[in-house]
């Protein structure tokens, strides 16, 4: 069993959790992911590792409530245990001293981009970070990202914080004025990564994305996560999760992300109904 040592609510929908998994913490590298199950009846969900502490044997994940499993996970408290937790899975980020690089994060991707930005900075890169969200409340880890970036640009769709607009506008401006940018990493919702790749396409800048496919085992057994990259079928779990975003077949990827939308919705509705009933009964007592 894998003990939760901290569960922190970052905003209305995003949580940060530290979990005890000493073996995983010893070998994990930035860019890799884990798969967890809450209970024996649960599903196996992949989450990119947001941070780790080798000395204390801890792994940090940052997740957003998008369905039953993530909502159930958000309710767990310090001392609770997870039924299953495996990792580190996938390939690590290729960290080198490239010169100037940009990391672009959205949603929980901000947490993942943070550990990559930190590793890039430690390798000697000049790291410019751009993070975006719908509004001020949904921006996470601003201080942490500031520490590992030479420059941090924040955008919100509604202009309630930082610059009004999307991350891609800020990205385009930098690419236009700074010819030295060698590489871009972008992690966030599929649509954001897709649009970011469209933005960088006209520039001679390699753009790396971290794909969050639907997975089951996460070790190359099932192929649930397969995606076309440059016309070839790749497994996100073992060939990725990072790929050259300009080569990803985004339409296919986004279709496959929605394979179980109906069932996921049903499962979440049933869960919420149960939780409500419990709360109601609790109230009467």
């Amino acid at each position: 069993m894998y003990k939760i040592v901290k569960n922190e609510k970052l905003n209305e929908i995003i949580y940060s959790m530290w979990i005890e998994a000493p073996e995983v913490a010893l070998s994990v590298q930035p860019g890799q992911f884990i798969i967890l199950m809450i209970t024996e009846k649960g599903e196996r969900i992949p989450l990119t590792v947001a941070d780790f502490n080798r000395e204390r044997g801890l792994i940090r994940i940052v997740f957003q409530i998008v369905g039953k499993t993530s909502e159930e996970l958000s309710t767990l408290e310090e001392g609770d245990e997870l039924y299953s937790f495996i990792g580190p899975l996938g390939k690590k980020t290729e960290i080198e001293n490239y010169g100037t690089v940009i990391t672009v994060g959205g949603g929980t991707g901000i947490a993942c981009i943070h550990s990559i930005a930190r590793a890039l900075k430690e390798a000697g890169n000049k790291v410019i970070s751009i993070i975006g969200a719908r509004n001020k409340d949904l921006i996470i880890m601003e201080e942490e990202l500031k520490r590992v970036s030479s420059e941090l640009i924040i955008t919100t769709d509604d202009g309630s914080y930082g610059r009004k607009g999307f991350v891609t506008q800020a990205l385009k401006e930098i690419l236009d004025k700074d010819q030295a940018v060698k590489k871009v990493w972008t992690i966030g919702p599929a649509i954001m990564m897709k649009v970011t790749c469209e933005t960088t396409k006209p520039y001679p800048v390699e753009t790396i994305v971290s794909l969050n496919s639907v997975m089951v085992d996460g070790t190359g057994m099932c192929g649930s996560c397969r995606v076309s990259v440059g016309g070839e079928t790749k497994f996100v779990c073992t060939d990725g999760p990072e790929f050259d975003g300009h080569l990803v077949d985004w339409e296919e990827f986004m279709n496959r992300l929605n394979r179980y939308k109906e069932q996921e919705k049903k499962s979440w509705e049933i869960y919420q109904k149960q939780v409500h009933t419990c709360k109601f009964v609790g109230g009467i007592k």
Partner: protein, 476 residues
């Protein structure tokens, strides 16, 4: 005690048929298809055994079970002793009793096979193991001195479990590392509940744990720890991580939403219990018209699973003819009884989808049989212009697996062949690195449970010899 019956009478009797769930009932549930012999049926069948002076069945049994002896114990109604007799050589009797290829092994060499009435050895083995489980009969660890050497087993499928149990019986300290959250490998993720109930797999693994084998789940060798690192802490290693990587046809449309590898389809259904969604959280596609490509046992399992999940039509699409079907005759028979539709001499060339990526059909070609190919089977040749579309809304690729490179990638000096399978000495299962052995599907490719069991046994013997003669990985 049941009485021995005269030889003449034994020859006259017919095979006691296996009671089964009726096809019209079982296609609506995931319960086991054969129900198992009753005590009376088992005795009646066991009484037919001629107790040959030179029994051929023992040599036919890859696990080397003393078949006449356990059958004799059944006749004597001494089921506990029958169980302990099997347990001497077979660590997974309720499992092998169900999924072993008896018709090609012990039963085909039975002297009564000539009369078309071989003893139903598998059914008897299954009866004995089930009886022991229900009556709380357990094997005991032989009273021998525990040894200090440690052996690591990578993978908890039939090969790993067998090797671990055999070595534990010899007194070694054994740890199995399993990547998934439950032990059993293909026995839990691959073979469906209706062919091999998971409670039985769990029970037999528990029995193996009781004789001292430690099983660590959620531990991905190659990710958490390399084989090289493992070699620093263990005296010998047995690699039995399975083949595990799915193969696809490489035809257009294969990445559409509702196209599964058999591995994914079966892992969702079996390991994750998606057939009990939403009680279990893992979802699975309920196709109205499902096509399974391939005709091996895994294909039969996939097609029959699709049917049980609610498919109105479930097709098996196979490029060769009925004669070449590689699945067990019993599985094909069960599938036919259940109404699985076989489309032979049919080659899928394209999977068709709508704008949302959902499958709406599969384009195929008709085939004809030409000259024999290198496998000795007549080569299927596409008939040009014979294209037609099968209307389906989901497709399962059940055309085999290939080697998953995670474990091999972390094992320096352990060589693989061009397909990624470990190269081993046939007689010892030793790899190219001293002290490291390998068996099961990661050596053979997609094979059977019993061949994995045999690999585990052979490797255990060789590892014992290696350690006995002072060998150890740790000295290196």
């Amino acid at each position: 005690m049941a009485e021995m019956i005269p030889i003449k009478e034994r020859m006259k009797r017919n095979i006691v048929p296996m009671p089964e769930q009726k096809p019209q009932d079982r296609i609506h549930n995931f319960k086991e298809v054969p129900l198992g012999y009753t005590k009376e049926q088992a005795i009646h069948e066991a009484q037919r055994c001629l107790q040959c002076k030179v029994p051929k069945c023992i040599a036919g049994c890859p696990a080397e079970n003393n078949i006449p002896k356990f059958i004799e114990k059944i006749v004597e109604e001494n089921f506990a002793e029958a169980y302990l007799e099997i347990l001497k050589t077979d660590n997974l009797p309720a499992i092998t009793g169900r999924v072993c290829l008896q018709e090609e092994q012990c039963q085909v060499v039975c002297i009564l096979e000539k009369k078309g009435k071989p003893i139903a050895i598998g059914r008897l083995e299954r009866f004995v193991a089930d009886w022991a489980r229900e009556n709380n009969i357990h094997g005991k660890l032989p009273e021998i001195k525990r040894k200090s050497q440690k052996v690591a087993v990578v993978g908890s499928g039939p090969a790993g479990l067998t090797c671990a149990a055999d070595l534990a019986k010899l007194g070694y300290d054994i740890t199995i590392f399993e990547a998934l959250h439950k032990p059993g490998g293909v026995l839990v993720y691959g073979i469906p509940e209706f062919r091999l109930p998971k409670s039985i797999v769990k029970y037999e693994i528990n029995e193996i744990e009781k004789i001292g084998v430690k099983v660590i789940t959620n531990f991905v060798i190659g990710a958490i720890l390399s084989v090289d690192k493992l070699a620093q802490d263990f005296d010998a290693i047995f690699l039995a991580n399975g083949a595990g990587a799915p193969r696809f046809m490489n035809i257009p449309g294969e990445n559409l939403n509702d196209v599964y590898s058999a591995n994914e389809f079966l892992i969702r259904a079996n390991l994750m219990k998606a057939y009990s969604f939403p009680e279990y959280d893992t979802p699975i596609k309920i196709g109205k018209r499902a096509a399974t490509i391939g005709a091996g046992n895994v294909a039969m399992d996939s097609a029959c699973t699709a049917l049980r999940l609610g498919a109105e039509k479930s097709y098996i699409v196979y490029r060769r003819s009925r004669k070449e079907v590689p699945a067990r005759a019993e599985e094909v028979h069960h599938a036919e009884e259940e109404g699985i539709l076989f489309s032979f001499l049919t080659l899928p060339v394209k999977i068709l989808g709508d704008e949302k990526g959902n499958v709406i059909g599969m384009e195929c070609l008709n085939m004809e049989l030409g000259e024999p190919d290198e496998s000795g089977r007549r080569r299927p040749i596409p008939i040009a212009g014979s294209n037609f579309v099968i209307e389906v809304d989901m497709v399962v690729d059940a055309i085999g697996t290939s080697a998953n490179p995670i474990v091999a990638g972390s094992a320096t000096g352990v060589e693989t062949n061009k397909w990624g399978y470990f190269i081993v000495d046939e007689n010892t299962k030793a790899t190219t690195k001293e002290g490291i052995y390998a068996g099961g599907d990661i050596v053979r490719g997609s094979a059977t449970v019993i061949s994995a069991v045999v690999d585990g046994k052979v490797a255990a013997r060789a590892i014992d010899e290696f350690l006995n003669s002072g060998g150890s990985l740790r000295k290196k």
